[in-house]
């Protein structure tokens, strides 16, 4: 946060509209709308996939056709018309770039506007970035440096071609195709995403990062991320997302699978800022995502998310604590404003002995939004000495929004220790008056109070991301008190 000053924040606050709402004028290769076996075959052939991949897709599609949309979430929306979506759209020059210099200037400009200028990233932060626009991964930086360590970090399609043994071994092992409606849909039509493998005993020396962007209208984005940390490996992975401002609702249904083998650690951070729709609730992204990780013995998976975008969010990054002594963590800030709806939380499934999980969830609701925490802590009968601590706080701004908490606890082993704390509060007039009396503007005061409230979660984020997240929180809540 060293070079980010209050003046910057002030400037950002003035820039209160959704600032990622532009569209890049890049010719794209978009297939006809609709969803059937032929479309799936077309996607697969466009991606020059091997047969096993096509079979996987077709099986998933068959399963999906037998499923119905889940309706248990505390969200209301018009169901997507799956026949009216184009399931594949790629920037025309979809050949993988050999080097950063080859990237289309228009694309570079897009990345620059998003604040992820790669030159900058490369030079200053040493973050390796994979950039996924619409359906296709367009650039991955730092590849050679990583490959010296045996780390594989590439687009999912590339992994299918270059590392089929790893993809086949792990894909779908944490989230089977039949897991849920949207996971099945993703398994059938996913177009790209990121793949990452850290070999035994290797500590990935830099943050790996993927930036997801929906550009085309009338499309959906279905990406898949698979991260494998082999025994004793460590990786910190970041994910960011934005989309142009459109009147229509666009569907984003991703699947993220994490595999932490013995003694491995995966830290997965997301700053989700899909277009949330306008002030009247028109447009915005439906963010229906399945994220889950599996922990082998003594391993650890830590999810951190800052959710400020999307019209509707439905997402529960979870951990299956399979191995003894494994640890799962979930840190979340979910902000909803205007007509946004979020139903988010986590599942901690304790299977192994002496497994531990921590859940810290901070919900902030403003405007006419609805914000729900939904979490499950499940202790299986062999999970001796399992421990869980959950803290779910809700902050309300104004009197037209809603905050809801749905905690579920299922415990089948008497030695378990489970703690749950929950609070609901409002930003106090007294706090605002105190801040203003010290010379702070209302916006600045709210930003300070909210960031203070979320501190435990923001502290989990890598530095650059934490700054970005703070700005986002302030912008998302602009003008919401009073």
């Amino acid at each position: 946060m060293s070079n980010y000053t209050e003046t910057d924040l002030e400037k950002d606050l003035q820039d209160q509209e959704y600032k990622y709402g532009f569209v890049t004028n890049i010719e794209s290769d978009k297939i006809p709308v609709g969803l059937n076996e032929d479309i799936i075959r077309l996607i697969s052939s466009k991606k020059e996939e091997p047969n096993w991949m096509l079979d996987y897709r077709l099986k998933a599609f068959a399963v999906w056709q037998t499923m119905t949309e889940p309706e248990w979430g505390h969200v209301h929306y018009e169901k997507p018309k799956f026949d009216e979506i184009a399931y594949y759209s790629a920037p025309k020059q979809s050949k993988k770039y050999e080097s950063w210099e080859d990237v289309d200037p228009e694309m570079k400009a897009t990345m620059k506007k998003l604040g992820i200028s790669m030159e900058e990233q490369m030079r200053l932060t040493g973050v390796a970035v994979d950039f996924v626009m619409d359906s296709v991964s367009v650039a991955t930086s730092f590849k050679s440096k990583l490959s010296e360590l045996g780390i594989i970090f590439c687009s999912f399609s590339e992994a299918v071609k270059e590392h089929p043994e790893l993809v086949q071994k792990y894909m779908g092992t944490v989230i089977p195709t039949s897991d849920n409606f949207y996971a099945a849909l993703n398994s059938a039509v996913f177009t790209d995403g990121s793949f990452c493998y850290i070999p035994k005993g290797v500590r990935c020396p830099m943050e790996l990062s993927t930036y997801f962007r929906i550009n085309e209208g009338g499309t959906g984005q279905f990406e898949r991320t698979l991260v494998i940390a082999d025994e004793g490996a460590y990786v910190s992975y970041l994910e960011g997302c934005t989309a142009p401002q459109r009147d229509e609702n666009q569907l984003h249904a991703a699947v993220v699978e994490l595999i932490a083998l013995e003694n491995a650690e995966i830290k997965y951070s997301t700053v989700q800022n899909w277009y949330p729709g306008d002030k009247n609730g028109l447009g915005g992204i439906y963010n229906f995502v399945t994220k889950r990780g599996i922990c082998e013995r003594k391993s650890k998976i830590s999810w951190t998310q800052v959710e400020t975008g999307s019209a509707v969010t439905w997402k529960y990054p979870s951990c299956i604590l399979k191995g003894d002594y494994s640890i799962g963590e979930f840190y979340s800030v979910a902000v909803t404003n205007n007509y946004q709806q979020a139903d988010t939380g986590t599942k901690m499934i304790h299977l192994g002995k002496n497994t531990k999980s921590t859940i810290i969830s901070k919900g902030i609701s403003a405007g006419k939004s609805q914000n729900s925490y939904r979490g499950l802590v499940q202790i299986h009968k062999n999970a001796k000495n399992a421990r869980n601590f959950s803290q779910c706080d809700s902050l309300l701004m104004g009197d037209t929004c809603g905050a809801h908490t749905f905690p579920y606890i299922e415990c089948k082993n008497p030695s378990a220790k489970i703690e749950h704390e929950a609070t609901t509060s409002k930003i106090g007039e007294d706090q605002l008056f105190y801040c203003k009396q010290r010379g702070l503007s209302e916006e600045k005061a709210i930003s300070l109070i909210v960031n203070g409230y979320c501190k435990e979660v923001l502290n989990q984020l890598p530095m650059e991301f934490a700054v970005e997240a703070q700005k986002l929180l302030a912008i998302s809540l602009e003008g919401s008190v009073g």
Partner: protein, 253 residues
Amino acid sequence: MINIVNLHAEVEEKKILKGLNLNVKAGEIHAIMGPNGSGKSTLASILAGKEDYTVTAGNVEFDGKDLLELSTEDRARQGLFLAFQYPIEIPGVSNVNFLKSALNEIREYRGEEQISAKDFLALVKEKSALVELDSKLASRSVNEGFSGGEKKRNEIFQMAMLNPKLAILDETDSGLDIDALRIVANGVNKLRSPKNAAIIITHYQRLLDYIIPDFVHVLYDGRIVKSGGKELALELEEKGYDWIKEELASNAE
């Protein structure tokens, strides 16, 4: 510095101030005393700009400007500081971050440059020593988990950091033990200068043993009913407020 003329104010249609006059010049310290419910804290809140109160008549000139026309934050930026009777907690926001933000907003308002990290830290060090505030408290969340005495010291620390033209201390002595009282008073005295002024609202004469006021006023039933030098405070301590009430009653007859 500040000139309050015929100020009337009410909250929820209950009249609290009923024609209050007070003129404070630069370099002066005024103490306002009075029995419970006389309107002392209301006066502090109104001057700071708290929205719960409605001013129904009168005007307040602060440093050449119409104070009542200014927003709460602009009053602060113009140099008005209120030390709260009950300082507010802001969880997760460190004292230094809070003050740095405040200081920079005030500087920006005045067209001054942002303070550098180095200068800011030096200032924190200097001013926290003034109120013998542990440097650990400076990095803790604003008032969270502070003891009563620490909260009051923190108010004076903030005041020292922001260097206001006019400081209003609302019952800063309440809940302080004798050592804390001495430290707080010491801090206020060191900040005293011919360029600034202070209004000290208090119940007891005790604080005025340490901070010697130039004037003492008695606020009763929404008006200043008696003014004098520091000896008035001693008289009040000795005789209570009843004699003033009686005096008023006999004058009215």
